[in-house]
Symmetry: C2
Subunit: 331 residues, 2 copies
């Protein structure tokens, strides 16, 4: 029997995390009890929200406990089962954390069809990030045909899907991403109408040029300078879905200078956490599954190899070094 | 026949307005044509939003034109009429501007009953400020019994009514106001549960002490430090109605530092302009009229005497020197 490997949170970061904040431990693969299954994880999901949970601060979820396995989404395969709902060989999505093997009583574990959609997509466009995009666009921004929607972190796991969903609603969709390579993919692969490179040094001017009729909806993943630039361009009654503020996860809060726009333009700004909307998941996943299977939604993945690579890959994600969904491949 | 007096906007302020930005002119009282009425204004309303309109900047309303009569709400009496809908002696509310007399074809002019409710109240608790409070509380914050609602500028024309409406919904209501005299009235006269004096030098601590169970709703009239202090105290799913940001009307934008709270606490922030919700005015005014007539809503007024006093009174309003609704008495 192979050994299990697990990443624990060793210490809480001050500012940007480092690999020292994590500790890799080995232990025997656990035996399963009555009603339990053993899952071998194939992919781990790395997501920006994990940074917030590393802090011991008031937030929407309990902090990641110290000296416990890092929590996170996974897809894998059932390799042993005492649970009649799961057979050996079943592909499952769940939140089994940063480890090679995990025991589960089946709670929160979902069987998925990896024949029409790649298994890894259940951590991306047909998983939590996709549903996040779906709700931000369809539940909060609710754009009408002809409106302009801006999406930050547009090449990312959430942003790429958000923009494509807004395109299906007949909008002009403008991405914001870092660097010409990402911006090119946002337009050429994902079909956005334009993409602004926030690293090019002319954010306000480039955003204005890309949104000649102003901005009616904004899918916010970043915060900071991008948010201020958008607030300066919004039209009356614009809607801003605040999904992430990655620019401020590891440092001091970044002030918002153009808050007055909320009043002047009668904005609606709404923060959300997709796990709090369980009612919409089945509908969103069904739609996203069809769209991905049919090739109508495209996405990118950055795949780190082996569980040892997880901390470095996570740090890179927070710095925007990934391109699309950041995964760790375990098998 | 007496002469008319009118205040025109002479120049646009840079920063805080001064009396030099206004010009008083005299002219004959206008003759009325077919279908028209002549109204003698009894009270003029002074409101913070007027400061925004003095700028030639993109905003929700067209700027106040230079060299034209300052726009604003008024109550008065019909003193001549060629319009069968209005008789001499009718009391009317409208937007006839900073002047003693005004000609009107009746558009936007409403007859009011000054026997149950004082005429001046139609510019305050039973007028635009009252409806603003009503919609912010009932349409945006929608507080449930037992929740905590904070109201800034709590002794003002809007804030005092907003807090009393939230009390009717069974909330703990905490005001924020400037100075012990206003804070005392907010609690003793208006029935708030507590009031924080933002000038006392301990805003964060005092607000925390007054909101032991956090904040579920915030009626925002001010912005700046008060908004940041509230963002640091909000509970999950809190609602913020942005009615005004008076702290930043005359100067540089004041950065918001705690925007991350929007995500962490899944806030809804909504800016609104009450003139854009005409459908709710009749219901709101009917309710407010009953509440004021029955003595269940209380309010304060600061009344400047004579049209000559209007610019000074307006400048004082922007500095918080008023106490309750700022009016100019003309008759």
């Amino acid at each position: 029997m192979p050994m299990n490997k697990q990443w624990l949170l060793a210490s809480r970061p001050r500012g940007a995390p480092s690999v020292d904040n994590f500790r890799l431990v080995e232990s025997p693969v656990p035996a399963i009890g009555p009603g339990e299954v053993l899952v071998r994880n194939h992919y781990m999901s790395l997501d920006p929200y994990m940074r917030m949970r590393m802090d011991d601060a008031k937030s929407y979820a309990a902090p990641q406990p110290l000296d416990e396995v890092m929590q996170g989404g996974t897809v894998g395969e059932v390799v042993a089962s005492n649970n009649p709902a799961f057979a050996i060989g079943d592909k499952v999505v769940g939140r089994l954390g940063w480890q090679l093997f995990a025991r589960s009583d089946g709670t929160g574990l979902g069987k998925v069809d990896a024949t029409r959609v790649p298994l890894s997509a259940y951590l991306g466009a047909v998983g939590m990030p996709g549903v996040t995009a779906w709700w931000g666009v369809n539940g909060i921004i609710e754009p009408k045909a002809g409106e302009t929607v801006v999406v930050s972190a547009a090449s990312g796991a959430v942003g790429a899907v958000a923009g494509q969903l807004a395109k299906f609603r007949g909008c002009r969709v403008v991405g914001v991403a870092g660097g010409p390579r990402k911006c090119e993919a946002v337009v050429e692969e994902f079909g956005f109408d334009a993409c602004v490179d926030y690293k090019a040094g002319n954010l306000a001017g480039d955003l204005a040029a890309a949104t000649p009729e102003g901005i009616d909806g904004y899918f916010e993943n970043v915060g900071g300078a991008v948010l201020d630039a958008v607030l300066a361009r919004v039209n009356a009654f614009a809607r801003i879905a605040v999904c992430g503020l990655i620019a401020s996860y590891s440092g001091a809060p970044i002030p918002v200078n153009n808050f007055r726009s909320v009043l002047v333009n009668r904005l609606k700004i709404q923060g959300f956490i997709i796990s709090e909307h369980p009612d919409i998941w089945p509908k969103a996943l069904a739609e996203l599954g069809e769209l991905v299977a049919g090739g109508r939604i495209r996405y990118r993945e950055t795949v780190a190899q082996g569980i040892e690579s997880a901390p470095e890959a996570f740090i890179g994600l927070l710095q925007g070094r990934n391109f699309g969904k950041q995964l760790v491949k375990l098998v």
